[in-house]
Amino acid sequence: MQATIWGCRGSLAAPGPDTVRYGGNTSCVELRLADGTLLVLDAGTGILPLGLTLADYSGPINLLLTHLHLDHIEGLGFFMPIWSAEREVHVWGPRSPLESLETRIARYLSPPLFPIHLHDLPAELTFHDVPEEPWEIAGVRIAAGPVVHPGPTVGFRIEENGASFAYVPDHEPELGGDLAQLSPDWISGLGVASGVDLLFHDSQYFEAEYETRAGWGHSSVAAAVKFAGRAGVRRLVLFHHDPLHTDSELAELEARARELWNGEGTVPELAFEGMTIEVAGGVAVGD
């Protein structure tokens, strides 16, 4: 499978001259399975340019939402396939104790926040609460595991042909205790990230910034590296960049991650728009 990043900014889109290298679009990842089947992870503003490339793609589209914070769904209304009656789009997201996924998404995709109501969109849209047990899409195994972040939130694990990829863009595992001390089954997120070939993980803050932002739902770079180490991932890509971080600050964050890395596997690197990684069993290669 192949992962391509269309947006890796967190919280708020941040276009401008200071965010050219890593990009300003909010979370969206295109995942192409071996047979060409498309999975889309999150619907931040990065989903707009992705949608423009899909004119020739006629298969069903599966959109997997980690949660419903605005930076992960704000692009949905601008995803071209949902404006075509010929398209079949399945939207998967975390269950809520109170309301259906469709009702919760409609809070945003309806007036006064959006001019068109969700049920007036022409595409054939189907909403699914993510199952508690792993399930399959196009023969590929997918698991969704709850993670520490305000409100119902999951991380995803996708496995195909012996290769595994985990996507946990918004996550504050330190809120569950000291990551160095906890036994693995008490660490939030390890259920989906354990031993994967490739992990995209939240690393929104420098350590000093985290001191004043604990409880906001995101990781420091140190926590991200520590989490990846406990999970035994082969390759860590740091995701969900703070909207106030410039390219040069993000380069510093990457350098800090490499300083903290224990030397096993591939050195951590920062996600950037346009980054493409081919995930194969035991190895993840890409630019």
Binding site: G145, V148, G176, P184, D185, W186, S188, L190, S194
Partner: protein, 137 residues
Amino acid sequence: MEGRRQKNLVLILAREFASKLATATFVSDADGYLVFYNEPAEAILGQTFAQAGGMHAEEWAGQFQVEELDGSPLPLDKMPGGIALLERRPAHHTFRITGLDGVKREISVTAFPLLTRTDEFVGMVSIFWQAQQDGAS
């Protein structure tokens, strides 16, 4: 290639929450298995959690020799923690225990179930206060 089994997220947060409280707090999972009690609870229960370790509901109900204030035995299903576990509703009661240090203590306990959905029960939290210490038995 499998993901690892992870404890329920609410239980992870409940345990960490308890570890930060100055109020004695005891956390069990949905099966009644004790997963944690905090330092203030250690002072009342008479042993550190590290020493006591995890144990099943019948075991913890028996270990602490729970009794009514009049000395009659208090079964698990009448204890606040037992009610929260078995009936999945909050409960409160004042009774007496004998800590693992052999000291009898009168405690007030409020227990509540952890429900992540109306039909998903993941554990129980008991918070308690020491009302009176009777001395070594």
